[in-house]
Amino acid sequence: MAKAASKHDNMKTQNLNMIEAIRDALDVKMSQDKDVLVFGEDVGYFGGVFRCTAGLQEKHGLHRCFDTPISEGGIIGIAVGMAANGLRPVAEIQFADYIYPAYDQIASEAARLRYRSNGDFTAPLTIRTPVGGGIYGGTTHSQSPEALFTHIAGLKTIIPSNPYDAKGMLISAIEDNDPVLFLEPKRLYNGPFFGDPHKPAVSWKGQELGDVPTGHYTVPLGKARHMRKGDDVTILAYGTMVWIAEAVADEMGISADILDLRSLLPLDIDAIEASVKKTGRCVILHEATRTSGFGAELSAQVQERCFYHLEAPIQRVTGWDTPYPHAQEWAYFPGPKRVGIAIRKVLEAA
């Protein structure tokens, strides 16, 4: 479990869940920089439907953390204007499933403003939004739309898997001078998830990655977290799926090299390449719909760079090519069984 925490050895830490870590990141930045504003549907007085902004309005003022109309396009639209005018807006989209009305403002505007004006104007905004299933949210509270954003030049797309990264990456995102989409795996808000919904929930208490330094620190964008070192197979994952990867590797007792990608664009292709060249086998995990998911891009890049090292076809383990069903949630979710089958296939291949 390699955490980059060594450099924080002299920092005080506190155990936080992912919601608290995100809130802490916002609080740190709002305290440091009065250009940081936080807004979205129900984020003001109420503190967000997942409580990520609870207390921020009271502490920092009504004008720095406020409710918006239910208008995702409008929310990102004002964020673009504010960012261009020197602020550091952090906008929340209540569920990633509701980000599509803002797609145009993100893809055509935030991501391209710098380019089309040749640097005359920029849009350093951060968009936070919860992704993924695992809470019986059905078709409209479970989606993982990351691939729709990694196709957009000018945008950065990142996704933490634990409180430590969540705080450090969110601070990096806010300080970044480009627009950043920060995806929050909602199933991980309260604890890591090892794939069995019937087992009692695990909390972040007692998890090393739940120990979060107080104050300011950053986790750089574009660097994967080498979650576990191993020789038999490389597992590329992000968000909720990194914990499934670890659980399955444990259960199978294999020596897996697991990368928590954290940042999808920019991508830490060097770490990926090094790992696959070492193991010769690669399994890619994500929760999103399979076709044209981000796993396709990972698979393509791995085979482009590691072709001569590959001893088995790269396997993708994903959600099915259907909307995310409600009652069949766990039949849809790429859980330990599906992951295990793929790993076995890759290991068994000649």
Partner: protein, 418 residues
């Protein structure tokens, strides 16, 4: 007055609106004038749109608080039909209560009540033809009940069990009942507004005199689809009714976040050249009358009407929130427009067509019916035990016919089950 307000200081020129009361405050809504003179006269349903611009700012009411009916908008409804409406509202409320409790017991993942707003959906449905397509939100279950949908079917949908007509695909309350003229509810707010306009345009194109009627909460009027709907409905004179249910709250946000400096939501339609009515949504007779007017206008070629139903969301947003976190606990009680069931009951009593005993009996009947229906529904499965939904159905109805890659994924899934 709002204590909490001052603690959240705002030291810049950026204005952020706030509700008058927050938890800890003593809500006082005496500033909301309850019109005593019963609001604007009823124009000809085929009048020019701008003749209704005052109606967008006033409030159409029929029922006095003492149970009398007054004013120009009194509809011609038999006591029998009124009792039918009363029963539909009471059934809706009884079902909501039961389902909310069952959700708390883990029988389903989620539930949403319409408490306080029953007159909007029931009164509206009473004034439409059953073949008029309604595009509801998650708070118009009253339409289904008024139209005689099977409550067991509804409950099975919420329980995502083997009796669920949607095979467990959708979360609770996102019903679809084509046979009852009830469009599949989207979890994405606002989207159906413009779809209803398209539906209505095709009615016109087919020379049918059916119309469409679509609902949105006041909060979701901020979505682009609301603008699309008003604009397209105006341009193509689509035969439809656009309903904004202003229940004062959008989860934790008060209506002023969506309204801004606008005086009413009905008035949003004025600039688009639409007919606009604003109605007391806790007054079933007024809702009926306004709907009936708008339906006549649409059917007669007069185009769309925007109706704001002014009401109050008595319960939390859903089973997922606790409203006392963002508004005074007793606010529902002091809300000055009363309760829709109580108001209709009092009217029926005042005209000698109802009494306390019959009311009590009906209440019991509704409760028992709901309880029995729920039992038979739960027998078909629930989330807390076995839903009894066939998992393979998740691969169905993605397309009309399955595609090779889905077949392959189905096969992969069957491997997992081995």
């Amino acid at each position: 007055m709002a204590k909490a307000k001052n603690s959240r200081k705002n030291t810049s020129r950026l204005y952020v609106p706030e509700p008058p009361f927050r938890p800890g405050d003593t809500p006082d809504y005496s500033h909301i004038a309850v019109p005593s003179a019963h609001s604007p006269s009823r124009p000809d349903p085929l009048c020019e749109a701008h003749e209704t611009s005052e109606h967008a700012l006033g409030l159409i009411r029929v029922l006095n608080f003492n149970g009398e009916t007054v004013g120009d908008w009194q509809p011609d409804l038999s006591a029998e039909r009124l009792r039918g409406g009363l029963k539909a509202m009471m059934l809706t409320r009884a079902m909501d209560d039961r389902m909310f409790n069952m959700q708390r017991q883990g029988k389903m993942s989620f539930y949403m009540k319409s408490a306080g707003e029953e007159a909007v959906s029931v009164g509206h449905a009473m004034a439409l033809r059953n073949s008029d397509m309604v595009f509801p939100t998650y708070r118009q279950q009253g339409v289904l009940i008024q139209r005689g949908a099977s409550m067991k079917d509804m409950m099975c949908q919420c329980l995502s069990n083997s009796g669920d007509l949607l095979d467990g695909k959708s979360i609770p309350v996102l019903y679809s009942f084509r046979k009852h003229g009830f469009f599949s509810i989207s979890g994405n707010l606002g989207t159906q507004l413009i779809q209803a306009v398209g539906w209505a345009m095709s009615n016109a194109y087919k020379d049918s005199d059916e119309i469409a009627s679509v609902f949105t909460g006041e909060g979701a009027t901020a979505e682009g689809d609301f603008h699309y709907a008003l604009n397209f409905a105006s341009t193509y004179r689509a035969p439809c009714i656009l309903n904004v249910v202003n229940n004062q709250w959008a989860i934790s946000s008060f209506q002023g976040i969506a309204a801004g400096e606008g005086e009413t939501f009905a008035a949003r339609g004025t600039g688009y050249g639409l007919a606009t009515l604003r109605v007391d949504g806790n007054d079933l007779l007024a809702v009926y009358a306004a709907t009936q007017w708008a339906a006549e206008r649409a059917r007669g070629g007069g185009g769309a009407t925007l109706i704001e139903h002014f009401t109050y969301r008595k319960s939390g947003h859903s089973t997922s929130d606790d409203p006392s976190k963002y508004r005074p606990e007793n606010e529902p009680d002091v809300w000055p427009f009363g309760d829709p069931v109580e108001r209709l009951k009092m009217h029926l009593i005042s005209i000698g067509e109802w009494d306390e005993d019959r009311h009590k009996a009906l209440e019991d009947e509704c409760k028992i019916f709901v309880r029995e229906t729920y039992k038979s529904a739960e027998a078909m499965g629930s989330l807390s035990g076995d839903t009894k939904v066939n998992h393979y159905t998740m691969f169905e109805e993605v397309y009309e016919n399955s595609l090779p890659h889905l077949d392959e994924q189905k096969r992969a899934f069957s491997q997992e089950l081995e």
